[in-house]
């Protein structure tokens, strides 16, 4: 679409100004990622262009030193536990919530997704006080439970969305043909909501994997996660290794979220929802 041939000079100027402004804003949006992440391939620890030489030394440091590897392992361990826990809890709740005539649905839903709304510092401080009394401070259990509260809303939302338009007569038909409820769930319901469940669990994984504030409050150095190490590193002095870690993290979330998007499309196609 070019400027209309009938446009006055004023309109034409406005049109190009608008395009220019949009270009600048879009550049502003993606520049930080595309300008900063390549700096992790610089052979010297400076953050300026042009790069003096291409080098993988910061990735070597990231993948081969104990400090970063320990953090990566901790992060993966915590995130996987959170994913399992929140997927089970969230899917069960979503199944219950989308049954017809569920009592007090709005109120229950509000409580279940409230961790998304409350500022994360408040959650962190509340959980910190609570754990100080419950003896869960500085433990993996505590960190996993706290991250699970933050991650389950995503599972509840995605699985509930996957269940909208779910035809309940399918499970009834299965029951009518003699399937016990458990068989009906695994053979009929689960395959249909699986895309929603997987994207919910990927969201849960990313929530825990990226989370830093709660980890700063409730975890000690024994449970230090990748974002925690990055946070403390940047407070002292930014080393290119942090940028290398950031690049790995970013690639990781891009891959995961692309998967989520593809799954969402597939799920919509399966359930016959037209893209509006």
């Amino acid at each position: 679409m070019a400027a209309s041939v009938y446009a006055t000079p004023m309109e034409r100027a406005w049109y190009y100004f608008h395009r220019l402004l949009c270009g600048a804003v879009l550049l502003f949006l993606i520049a930080p990622i595309f300008v900063v992440l390549p700096l992790s391939f610089n052979s010297v620890p400076f953050f300026t262009y042009p790069l003096s030489a291409f080098s993988l030394r910061w990735y070597q440091e990231f993948f081969l030193t104990d400090r970063w590897q320990g953090a990566l392992h901790n992060s993966i361990f915590v995130a996987v536990s959170v994913t399992l826990l929140s997927t089970v809890l969230g899917t069960l709740a979503a199944l219950g919530l989308s049954r017809p005539n569920f009592p007090w649905r709005t109120a229950v839903m509000t409580i279940l997704i409230s961790p998304l709304v409350v500022p994360v510092v408040i959650t962190a401080v509340g959980v910190y006080f609570f754990y100080a009394d419950a003896g869960l401070l500085n433990s993996f259990t505590g960190l996993i439970l706290a991250h699970t509260t933050l991650a389950t809303p995503f599972v509840v939302i995605t699985v509930t969305a996957a269940l909208t338009g779910f035809d309940h007569s399918l499970t009834r038909a299965a029951a009518g043909l003699g399937a016990p409820p458990v068989t009906a769930f695994f053979k009929v319901t689960l395959p249909l909501i699986l895309p929603g469940m997987i994207s919910g669990s990927l969201f849960a994984f990313l929530t825990s994997f990226d989370e830093v504030v709660v980890a700063l409050f409730v975890a000690s150095t024994n449970q230090r996660t990748l974002p925690k190490v990055m946070f403390s590193g940047i407070r002292e002095e930014i080393s290119p290794t942090i940028i290398a870690a950031a690049t790995v993290l970013t690639l990781f979330s891009i891959i995961m979220l692309t998967t989520i998007e593809l799954l969402r499309r597939r799920s919509e196609r399966l359930r016959g929802i037209r893209n509006t």
């Binding site: 953050f47 069960l92 709740a93 409580i111 500022p119 940047i234 940028i243 979330s253 979220l257």
Partner: protein, 416 residues
Amino acid sequence: MATTAVRSTGSPKGMPLHLKLRRVERRQKLKAFILVLPLLLFILIGFVLPIGRMLFNAIHDHTLLTLMPRTMTALSEWEGRDLPDEAIYAALIADLKDSWAQKTATAIGKRMNYELPGSLSQVVLSARKASLLTSGPYKEAMIEISPLWGRQDVWNLMKRGTSAYTDYYLLRSIDYQYGPDSQIVASPPENAIFRGVFLRTLSISISVTAVTLLLGFPVAYLLATLPSRSSNLLMIMVVLPFWTSLLVRTIAWVVLLQQHGVVNETLIALHVISQPAELVYNRVGTIVAMTHIQLPFTLLPIYSVMKTISPTYVRAARSLGAGPFYAFWKVYFPQTLPGIAAGCLLTFILCLGYYITPALVGGAADQMVSSFVAYYTNEELNWGMASALGAILLTATLLLYYSFNKLVGVDRLKMG
């Protein structure tokens, strides 16, 4: 009709059909509820309870009540006009002796120090010396040990401690405190920082919201009017940063804006400036980084509303003789208002709670409420203050969120 009536009353166990139906429905409701129950309990215990307790901490403080039980009992009779009598001093000494033996004198001193700076050392000193006292008269002895115990304001502070509930922390959060006679007065300038903190939080949030609207609206308009092939391509540029971790984006801004960062070096190379500009660890850095993070949150709701606006209205206005700007302003713009309201409110709510970004790119004098909540929790260990500031922030957030919910509906929140 007759047969149905007979059938419904004549079911096998002699129960009317509608009762049976109701019973089955109740059982189904119960089953649905049992599915939700594990998560509901988990969230209630692991999230709602801790936050509720934190809110309770903002008004509940029984430090003096539990650590000085005898003095507090004796003080409940005291009128508060003159210094207390010998019996209360005797109770005080007994409590201080206990506190010295159980090493709780510091806790008492710390609590009193919040309201009367300088009393911590005096209380610990008094406890140590009181433990050596054997006989009265106690009143003179105590005032001899520390002039603290001869002060009316100290005793009024102790008297306030007889209640387990206090509004001291909430008052402090809005820059009020108790005067010597337990009256509410404005905090002295060195303590009166919190109204400034709240105002700063508000002004940063408003600026970021305004900037995201100014930058986001034209882009949303472009995306909504372009043919879908090119708009999808541009959409990736909006969604990609949305998908990147907040920490990564904040780090990226530090790297870009720091003294010898990409932006400064580029500007110097282009001879725009001769000295590196101060772009990070101040308000500029905070606003730039927060705008970058919040821009998609403002843009996407506006975009989704614009997608639903039919271009025929503007065309009709044009054909009726309206100029391009007039048609846009009078016909198109009003239809985008719901999207603008939703996007701006969402950004504003999220901005209020920012912690990581101001902590990393903001200056020391530029911290928002969240940082003070964290500071009082981790550094000062003054949990009452942390709770009170948190309570105010949470209340504001929930009220705004409630109006957001009325306006848009929580189900329409999109996640990328």
